[in-house]
């Protein structure tokens, strides 16, 4: 199927109008005209502005191929990974509005402070806690076991912060751990080698944890890796209910 950015028959407009957030909390949108190109990504647009129009523009990226999770921004009001987002798919009337991610402190221009995001990963006990030593046999985890399937569905998170930016509950409840941290906890709850689940389930329960989720599914809708943190959060609620009934919470 032909898509707008791949069709050689669709003539491209010569320029794209781009409004980019400049400054920190007290900033403003500044408009730039950027040459339009075939297969152009939003990250290409931002890079063009920095290299050819205003070298003081700050933004963050690394891999450019959707692996590192560094380049997420708000594009026309929706959080996206900009390196894999084609302009043709998101431009409205040949215009883009690019802003930093929501729900995180702004540092400068398109750069946010990701510390709260990763601090909440730590609060959710997102580190693997094993009990085996090098003298033990390798753990055998069957690929088709129910727990491994749950892990497979959630493990590809790249920590881009798109889900965290898209989540209204994070906006309303700043203590809320957020979809990414809870999704990570869910992968470890299903890791048969992990021995930290009692502590982990207590860490992700309650008003700041999975029970704050409203199941609006913005995280699932926006996740560029097509993970469903909502499903993981529902799984955590079930696991916590079982733990509570066993008196382990």
């Amino acid at each position: 199927m032909s898509t707008p950015h791949s069709s050689p028959l669709t003539p491209l407009p010569r320029t794209l109008t781009v409004r980019v957030w400049r400054g920190a909390e007290a900033g403003e949108f500044v408009a730039y005209d950027v040459p339009r190109q075939a297969s152009q990504t939003v990250l290409d647009v931002v890079t063009h502005i920095q290299r050819n129009i205003d070298p003081t523009l700050s933004y963050r990226f690394a891999c450019r191929v959707g692996m590192c999770g560094s380049c997420a921004m708000n594009v026309n009001g929706k959080a996206r990974w900009t390196c894999r987002t084609h302009v043709a798919d998101v431009a409205v009337d040949n215009a883009l509005e690019i802003a930093p991610l929501r729900n995180l402190p702004m540092v400068k221009d398109l750069v946010t402070d990701m510390a709260p995001f990763f601090d909440k990963m730590a609060r959710a006990k997102s580190n693997f806690k094993g009990a085996a030593t090098r003298a033990d046999e390798f753990a055998r985890v069957m690929p088709d076991s129910p727990q491994r399937r749950e892990v497979d569905a959630a493990i590809e998170c790249i920590g881009c912060g798109v889900c965290y930016s898209a989540c209204d509950v994070v906006t309303w409840n700043p203590e809320y751990l957020g979809p990414a941290a809870l999704n990570r906890a869910w992968t470890l709850v299903n890791d048969v080698r992990d021995v930290g689940n009692q502590e982990r389930l207590a860490a992700v329960a309650g008003d700041a944890g999975c029970h704050a989720c409203h199941t609006q599914m913005s995280c699932t809708e926006r996740c560029p890796k097509h993970i469903s943190p909502t499903a993981g959060i529902a799984g955590l609620k079930r696991a916590i209910a079982v733990a509570a009934l066993k008196g382990m919470l």
Binding site: W172, N173, A205, G206, D207, H211, A241, A244, L249
Partner: protein, 112 residues
Amino acid sequence: MSVRAQVLLWSLQRLSAAVLAVCVVAHLATMIYAVRHGLSAADILGRTRGNYAWLAFYVTFVAAVAIHAPIGLRTILGETLGWRGTLADLVVLALGVVLALWGWRAAYAVFA
């Protein structure tokens, strides 16, 4: 409030929602029946007075409301007004008690 208590509140709200789903449907069906059949207040009281089944139904209905509404309001207060903590918890607890007392009083009034 402890995490354990927060989880208990969340669970109670879900359980009460399940009860409400049944009770609201039954309540609406009863209202529609009463209106369509032109039942007077005396007709309705004639059916509810001394009827332990209706008393049990409405006592359960009121209990579900009195549990469900304050827990939901607690979340709304926290998320829209940023009002959280012990005082907010006590206020919604008081609301729950008032809802229960008013509701049970009404249920008893049509029973006795």
